[in-house]
Amino acid sequence: MSLIFFFAAVFSYLFFLIRFAWQGIIWFRATGHAAAYPVFLRKVPATVYIITVLDILLFRRIFDTSKLLWAGSWVFHISFFFVALRHMRYFFPSLPDCLILLQPVGVAAGYLLPLSLLFLMVLRALQKKDRYASSYNYIISGMLFLISSSGVIMRTFFRPDLISVKQFTLGIFALSPQALPDSSLFLIHIALFLLLLPYLPTHIIAAPFVNLEANRRMEELRYVIHEE
């Protein structure tokens, strides 16, 4: 069983890396004529970068569109970020101080994560029938909900042996299979994660760049036909 999980983990991480790298190759192999698109804004002002960073941190564009969706999405992403940081303790032999400081935030985020996902799924389900519903988003959200819920249950009620969990995860990256922790919940938690990892949406990489380009374009709109 340990070996099955070990190889599944290696395969899942590899698939994830190759898929994202290949996606990058697809992006940069595009050779459209539109590459010669005229530039009206010779120098991108620093404000465009600042706005983009704020957009990424605060999800301004979603806020402009739907306040409820913004609330759910922002809490989901921010709690996902802190939960991911908290999980770093399983991947470092000794944890950096900054990550130690963030552990309590990660615990709180762990409770918010399934709640925000539940909120987003209910919000989608309650919206009118004629609205667009992406089955991919439902599947990803559903899996994340199960992963985060199992994490919360483990944290609150059925704690696995953390030393054996750490040994197992470090073993994956050292390519040295270790014994699986003796916890069914952990097995479910990690199995779902390994299943999800290769299918994580690539928009997490593309969206910030597109957001930057959109802000540059908005700034540029002032100079397309107007003289400075």
Binding site: H33, A34, T65, S134, F209, E227
Partner: protein, 406 residues
């Protein structure tokens, strides 16, 4: 089907492929899509089109396709996608409101081009465009000798050479004559000598070809027009059609391969400058509530939003009111995307949304500044229970403007 193994990214820039990937499929854009508003079919909505196109890219360029045989794409899926991407008015409202900021107004023409390149487009009205432009210089296959004669005011003098030129555009010249007549009357009032190409030389700007994805003739058209204006010593080219202005500003430099040798100005910009420089004045009053509709390719396209409003406010007595969605968020009137004749019912329904809102807001006149909008919204009002006078901004101004004699 042609080129079935060709990559679906060959017509796109890396940023456009990233944009396709960046779509989070949230579906929020649907509430801003005018086509959705009148058809209520999420299956042709932006996130669905993007999802399907990603599948096309994957089928020819994905990992599996690279190392094994590229997957044969279902012909029906390709045809459905083609229909969906052509049913769009390319207004770009979805992109304006996109949670990540995808530039859809520019993306759609290139996805359409891909479908054209694969021989999947069979709307005759579109496939006949290149031949019509080749033969007559305009997409309507109308005689060149009728381009200016039916509407050009006799008293207006056009000089042979000038630093200022006026381009009427095919849609204005053939289908929205009061609009282009208003343009030249206002130009005449301003008093700066201006030149024009002859009716044979003023050919299509290329916009219908660009927007429908047929780009083969664009370089030749651009070079022909640019060198014709250059020979006349033009430094400023004025045009009132948002589609022409858009392609001249954004695409002509691409197809020319360098910066344009002259400046492009929208008619309202030129008029506003003339008002500021006291070349013209408006002394008669117009005590009316006017509602101005922003054309998508003028507002979202090149950012001309304030000038038309400033020009209208310059008419004493005018009360300018706004559509709920205006400026960068304006709602397409249905005429966009070069498919208003293919998807006529959609276009009419969208035009009626504009008419209904203008009537509900108790506007006395609906002011437009695009020949395509002018034609379609007028068409939408036929057999519609709600009526409102539809006037082009220069058609209106021509009635009030006076030259300031110095």
């Amino acid at each position: 089907m042609k080129n079935k193994k060709e990559s679906f990214t060959r017509n796109l820039t890396p940023m456009q492929v990233m944009e396709l990937d960046a779509c989070a499929q949230c579906g929020e854009c649907l509430q801003h899509c005018p086509v959705q508003e009148v058809t209520n079919r999420p299956s042709i909505a932006t996130p669905e089109k993007i999802k399907v196109y990603r599948e096309f890219i994957k089928a020819t360029g994905g990992l599996k396709a690279r190392f094994f045989n590229p997957k044969e794409i279902d012909k029906e899926l390709l045809q459905d996608f083609t229909k969906a991407v052509f049913e769009c008015t390319t207004c770009g409202a979805c992109g304006q409101k996109c949670a990540v900021g995808i530039n859809t107004q520019r993306l759609w023409p290139y996805l359409r081009k891909e479908m054209f390149d694969r021989g999947l487009v069979d709307y005759e009205i579109l496939t006949n465009l290149p031949e019509a432009i080749k033969q007559t210089g305009n997409p309507y296959r109308l005689p060149a000798e009728d381009r200016f004669k039916p509407w050009f005011p006799e008293q207006v003098k056009v000089v042979e050479k000038s630093e200022i030129a006026y381009y009427a555009g095919c849609t204005g010249a053939y289908t929205a004559k009061p609009m282009v007549r208003g343009d030249v009357l206002v130009l005449d009032a301003i008093g700066d000598p201006f030149t024009m190409l002859t009716e044979e030389d003023e050919v299509c700007c290329g916009f219908p070809l660009f927007i429908s994805g047929q780009h083969d003739m664009l370089e030749a058209l651009t070079k022909r027009l640019v060198s014709a204006y250059q020979e006349k010593g033009v430094k400023t080219l004025i045009c009132s059609c948002p589609c022409c202005v858009n392609i001249m500003t954004r695409e002509w430099p691409v197809f020319l391969g360098r910066e344009l040798p002259f400046r492009i100005m929208h008619m309202t910009q030129f008029v506003l400058d003339a008002l500021k420089q006291n070349k013209i004045r408006i002394s008669s009053e117009l005590k009316e509530r006017l509602i101005y509709h922003d054309p998508c390719y003028l507002s979202r396209g090149v950012g001309v939003i304030e000038e038309p409003r400033a020009v209208l406010r310059a008419i004493p007595g005018v009360e300018l009111i706004e559509f709920d969605r205006h400026g960068l968020d304006s709602r397409c009137c249905g005429a966009g995307g070069a498919v208003r004749k293919v998807f006529h019912e959609n276009a009419v329904a969208m035009g009626r949304l504009a008419i209904d809102e203008a009537v509900t807001k108790k506007a006395d006149k609906l002011i437009l500044s695009c020949p395509a909008c002018y034609g379609k919204v007028n068409e939408a009002m036929q057999d519609h229970e709600r009526k409102i006078p539809i006037v082009d901004i220069m058609e209106l101004l021509a009635q009030y403007v006076e030259r300031v004699e110095k």
